[in-house]
Symmetry: C2
Subunit: 335 residues, 2 copies
């Protein structure tokens, strides 16, 4: 099938840019130095492509992601980098571990440690707040929690701490400084906790964070307009393909809207035009001067935030020279 035959809105991946991003990252962070985060793409087919690039483990944000990876044979070393207290889901994770997957869960409190122990999970990391007000214990609490986890029968593999507040700081030296500051907190916690893992980082700090033992980057593989501003060596590899359905003298309307695009980082970019606004199923934009559009024309829309965009779509279509060469299910979405 040609790209232009896809019903729209459609999530389209450029195979060349994808391969470039995979190779660039595996050259910078080979093997276990990268623990790709699947939350950005939620797609086991793409995770398999990352595995074949040499990365043995994965980072997950939800039990569904971890269980889905384990189910397709990618469960050798999964870090569920999030706190989970749902008894049913913890039991499902323990069952997957009993069938051979290695699933390491983030814990940051006595309550999450007790929940993990109650479900007979084995491996945990202590999640440390390194500056982003989200999950994670205070660095000075990490040692005490590690002791509590070990007393509860859990194996503590180390620490994790996501320096998300630094990720899209545009100035690179400033970003490096903030990453180092965050990682000093994580290393102090690690000194109290022990274990082989110091897991941190993301696409914005992949080559700046030299303190973590592994980097949890995920967005690098597809990219978005927010990361594009940082001058990283990764290429925009996906877009939402839309069809122009209405043309007026001053603007045109395409069929990709709020239900096809993650909007928390703001409006998307549109090829050959300037976005006015999005509504539920539409994108209203002004075409560039000298670019007459007709109903039925296709336009490429680049989202501002990759993760919540992908989560709206059932499939992504991998394309090479105008042809759809593979269609991958976004099989890890939902919870």
């Amino acid at each position: 099938m040609r790209i232009d035959e896809l019903p729209t809105p459609a999530l389209v991946v450029d195979e060349g840019a994808l391969e470039h991003n995979l190779r660039t990252m595996s050259a910078a962070l080979p093997g276990a130095r990268l623990r790709p985060h699947v939350k950005a793409h939620k797609c086991t087919s793409l995770a398999w492509r990352q595995r074949r690039e040499g990365h043995p483990g994965f980072t997950c944000a939800t039990p569904k992601e971890a269980l889905g990876l384990a189910a397709v044979g990618l469960g050798d070393d999964l870090l569920l980098a999030n706190e989970v207290v749902d008894a049913g889901r913890l039991e499902a994770l323990a069952n997957a571990a009993a069938r051979g997957a290695r699933i390491t869960l983030a814990v940051d409190s006595d309550a999450t440690i007790e929940a993990a122990a109650r479900a007979s999970l084995r491996d945990v990391v202590i999640d440390v707040n390194v500056g982003l007000p989200r999950c994670g214990c205070a660095p000075e609490e990490a040692g005490r929690l590690a002791d509590a986890a070990r007393r509860a029968g859990l194996s503590v593999r180390g620490v994790m701490g996501y320096e998300g507040h630094t990720m899209v700081v545009p100035d690179r030296p400033k970003r490096r400084e903030l990453v180092e500051e965050a990682m000093q907190k994580l290393l102090r916690a690690h000194a109290d906790v022990g274990g082989e893992l110091v897991s941190a980082g993301g696409t914005g700090s992949f080559d700046l964070n030299v303190w973590a033992t592994e980097i949890q980057a995920g967005s690098y593989v597809l990219m978005d307009t927010a990361y594009d501003k940082l001058g990283l060596p990764f290429r925009q590899a996906f877009w939402v393909l839309a069809t122009v359905v209405s043309v007026s003298p001053a603007y045109a309307v395409a069929d990709a809207g709020l239900k096809a695009l993650g909007m928390d980082h703001g409006n998307p970019r549109v090829e050959g035009g300037s976005v006015w606004f999005c509504s539920d199923e539409h994108l209203t934009f002004a075409p560039d001067a000298g670019r007459p559009l007709r109903v039925g024309d296709r336009v490429r829309v680049t989202p501002a935030h990759v993760d919540p965009t992908i989560a709206y779509h059932e499939r992504m279509h991998v394309c090479r020279e105008g042809e759809v060469v593979e269609s991958w299910e976004v099989d890890l979405r939902g919870w």
Copy 2:
């Protein structure tokens, strides 16, 4: 099942508030005076509830919504209030019509008329721009397009025009004035077009728009924080239930984030606290003073925009007095 046993994030509907909204709207706009828009809820079970309230027809934003309603026996009078040029989808709509559904398609250009005629669809309305820069022809073009549609063998049932730019104007007299101005444009177009339908309106104008023959409101049935500000007689009837997974001295973190919430209208509200920010799977918020939270506590999160929130979820759970009494699939999402 008790509400508190639902795995989170979960879309929860309060049956009492839902019934209140259904009854309030059907009292104000009985029978065919309301053509409920299903794009807000994307759920045939909820559409059936609207049908039992006495509304015979529905408004749809996508072919999938129209086909899905027709497939469950709700195809008596469907208005697909959007331009469609995809040949495969137009053929599917024509096939559903051949099996007995009545599907009326919006057209706003020669190209969309030709596409509808080529697919052997029968019924159209002329979509008129009444002030919102989206789809819709200029009012003075409507008569010419109606003639072209009739020459192409289509039955022109009238006009539609969505006054979306007026919908959340907080001042009610101002909103009424803008609605009237928009509807004067639509009525001028209707004078040139003819037909029995003047279809327009939404939740923000349901009792102000006395010019349209039918109102396309959809959000009224579940509501969101954007509409809540207008002082309408509808109650907030749904929320995203989340579990607190981490608690710090100044803030707490719950497990509903950017992939569970439509964010284009801004942050959601959280019961008993103030939202700081959302990330992919988390909501960071400051609990109100004197409200100590513990890991495992549940909180209700009210989204700013209902439509793109629902589109992230597989199911909605209807609840009465703390019990889940029905679970409805969000079966019309996607395209």
